[in-house]
Amino acid sequence: MRLLLIEDEPEMAAALASALGSFDILVDHAPTLSQAEAALASSVHDAILLDRQMPDGDGLDLIPKLRSKGIGLPIIVLTARGDTDDRVAGLNKGADDYLAKPFAVEELLARLRAVLRRPGQLVATTLRVGRLSFDCSHRSASVDGALLDLPRRELLVLETLIQRMGRTVLRAALEESVYNFDDEIQSNALDAHVSRLRRKLAEADAGVEIHGIRGIGYLLKRASK
C-alpha cells in the first residue's frame, strides 16, 4: 500500500513514515498543497493523509479540488485542531475520516483499513500480529505459514479483532460481523466463539492474546513477553 502524506511538519512526516513503514506501507511526503497536487498526478497512491494547517492554505480546500478532478482516493484528515465543529467541516468537505492529533498509529491503521474496505477500494492485505498472519482476501489465518483450521465464525471474529488489533472492539461490532440479521444470537454464543478461538491460538503458539473487557468487548494484541 502506498500513501501520500500531506503534512508541513517534517518531524511528524518522518515519524509517521517510519511507523507506517513497519507495517509495509510506503509513504510519500508532500510538504505543501501544490506539491501534493503534483504528486497525485502520478496516481500511484491508495489513500491520502491530509494535515489541515499547510503553508499554502487550509488542507481541507484541497479535497473539493481533487474530487472535481475525479480523484476518488480515500482521504483521512489529520489535524491538531480536532474540535467537533472542525470535524464536521472536514467530513462535509468530503473527507472519509478525521483523526485528531495526537493519535495512536494503530488507530490510524484501523481507520485506513476501514476507508480502504469501502466499495471500489478493495485492497488485499495480509495483517500480522506476533507469529499470526491473516490474509484478508482469502480470509485465512496461519501461524508461521501453517494454516489454522478455524470454523467460519471464529475466522470472522478473528478478522474483526485483527483489523483493529491493539484497539478495543465493541461486543456489538463483533456480533454484527459474525451473525446475519436473521441469526438468533444467544447471549453467550460470542463468548464461546472467542474462548475457543483463544484456546486454538494458544495451542498454535500464535503469539497473540485476546483480552475480554467486561461490559465493552474484546481486544487482540501481541502477547507480552
Binding site: E9, E11, M12, A15, L16, S18, A19, S22, A80, R81, G82, D83, T84, A100, K101, P102, F103, A104, V105, E106, G166, R167, T168, L170, H211, I213, R214, G215, I216, G217, L219, K221, R222, S224, K225
Partner: protein, 348 residues
C-alpha cells in the same frame, strides 16, 4: 446618617459654612459702613458717633444679625447638602451594583455611564478603561493557553508515533502512558478554556455512552499496564446536562490516574449509576484519608515523584464544578475510588 470626615457631605459642609460666614460678615459690614458714611448713625438726636456706640453697633450687628443668620444657614446647609448629594450619587448605585457583580468569569462587563454626575464620569470612564485593559489581558492569556495547548498537540503526536514504533517493552508501555497523560492534560486545558468562553452551554449527554467510550479507548493502555478493565453501567441510559467532550476527558483522566497509581494489577472498574454518578475504581494502595481533601488541589501529590503533573485531578474537579457536579474520593477498604456526581437531566 453619620458625617465622617472623609465623606463628601462633611467636606461640603466644612467648606460651605465658613465661606457663607465670611460672605455674610463682609456683606453686613459693607452695609453698615455705607450707612455710617451716609450719616445714618448720627441722625438719632444728633448724638455723635462714639467708640462706645460703635462697639455697641458692632455687637448688635454680629450678635443680632450675623450669628443667628449664620446658624440658620449652617442648619440649612447641614440638611440640604446630604439631600443634594444623595440625589446626585443615587445613580452611582447601579454602577456600584454592576461593579459588585464583576468576577473572574467571562469578560466584557462595563459600568453604565448614563445618569452618572459629570464630575464622577471621568472616574467611571477610567474604571471602564481599566476593565477593558484587564479584558484584553484576560483574552491574551486565554488565547495563549489555547494556542499553547494546540501547539502541544503536534509534538505530542510525534512523540506518540515514535514511542509506538519502539520494540515492545515495559518501558515503552510506561512511555505511552505518559504521552497519553500529556495529551489528556493539553486537551483538558483546552476544555476549560472553551467552557469559560461566553456561549458555551450544556447539552443532554448520556453518561453510559461516555463511560463506555472512555473505557473502550483506554482499555489497551490499561491491559498493557497489567490490569483487567471493565465497564458496569447500572442501566442502559443515564442522561445529564453537560459538555460531552470535557466530561469524557475528566473520566479519561480518572482512568489514567488509576492506571498510574493502581499498582499494575487487579481490576480497574468504570461504573455508571442511575443517579448520575460515574465511578472509577482501582485495586491499588488507595488514598489515605488525610489526603482525600487535598488531592484535588493543584500540584498536590501523594508522594513526591517525577511523573505526573499534579494538575490532572484539579482539572477534573474544575470541569465537574463547571457542570455543578461533585467529585469525591470514596471510602473504600481497598484501592482508590473516585466518584463524579452530576445533576440528572430533567424528563427522564
Amino acid at each position: 446618617m453619620i458625617l465622617r470626615p472623609t465623606s463628601l457631605r462633611w467636606r461640603l459642609v466644612w467648606r460651605l459654612v465658613p465661606m457663607q460666614g465670611v460672605i455674610l460678615t463682609l456683606f453686613i459690614l459693607t452695609i453698615t459702613a455705607t450707612m455710617r458714611e451716609g450719616g445714618l448713625f448720627v441722625d438719632d438726636g444728633g448724638v455723635p458717633l462714639t467708640t462706645e456706640r460703635f462697639i455697641h453697633g458692632l455687637r448688635f450687628v454680629f450678635g443680632g444679625v450675623i450669628l443667628p443668620t449664620l446658624g440658620l444657614m449652617t442648619l440649612a446647609t447641614l440638611i440640604a447638602t446630604p439631600m443634594v448629594i444623595r440625589r446626585a450619587l443615587a445613580s452611582l448605585g447601579d454602577a456600584a451594583e454592576q461593579a459588585e457583580s464583576i468576577d473572574s468569569g467571562p469578560p466584557g462587563t462595563r459600568l453604565v455611564i448614563a445618569g452618572v454626575p459629570d464630575e464622577i464620569r471621568p472616574l467611571v470612564r477610567a474604571f471602564n478603561d481599566a476593565l477593558g485593559r484587564l479584558d484584553d489581558g484576560y483574552e491574551r492569556q486565554q488565547r495563549f493557553l489555547a494556542d499553547a495547548a494546540h501547539e502541544l498537540r503536534t509534538p505530542i503526536a510525534i512523540l506518540q508515533i515514535r514511542l509506538e514504533s519502539l520494540a515492545d517493552s515495559s518501558e515503552r508501555t510506561r512511555l505511552l502512558e505518559d504521552s497519553a497523560r500529556l495529551g489528556a492534560l493539553a486537551e483538558q486545558l483546552l476544555d476549560l478554556q472553551r467552557l469559560n468562553q461566553p456561549g458555551s452551554h450544556r447539552m443532554r449527554v448520556d453518561l453510559v455512552a461516555i463511560g463506555q467510550r472512555v473505557t473502550m479507548d483506554l482499555a489497551p493502555l490499561a491491559i498493557n499496564a497489567g490490569y483487567a478493565i471493565c465497564f458496569e453501567p447500572e442501566t442502559e441510559r443515564v442522561c445529564a446536562m453537560g459538555d460531552e467532550l470535557s466530561l469524557a476527558r475528566a473520566v479519561t483522566n480518572l482512568v489514567q490516574n488509576a492506571i498510574e497509581h493502581g499498582g499494575r494489577q487487579g481490576m480497574i472498574a468504570v461504573r455508571v449509576g442511575r443517579s448520575g454518578t460515574i465511578t472509577v475504581s482501582d485495586e491499588g494502595a488507595g488514598i489515605p484519608a488525610e489526603h482525600r481533601e487535598r488531592i484535588f488541589e493543584p500540584f498536590h501529590r501523594l508522594q513526591p515523584r517525577p511523573r505526573g503533573a499534579g494538575l490532572g485531578l484539579n482539572l477534573v474537579r474544575e470541569i465537574v464544578r463547571w457542570h455543578d457536579g461533585e467529585i469525591a474520593v470514596l471510602d473504600e477498604s481497598r484501592g482508590a475510588s473516585f466518584r463524579i456526581t452530576l445533576p440528572l437531566a430533567q424528563g427522564d
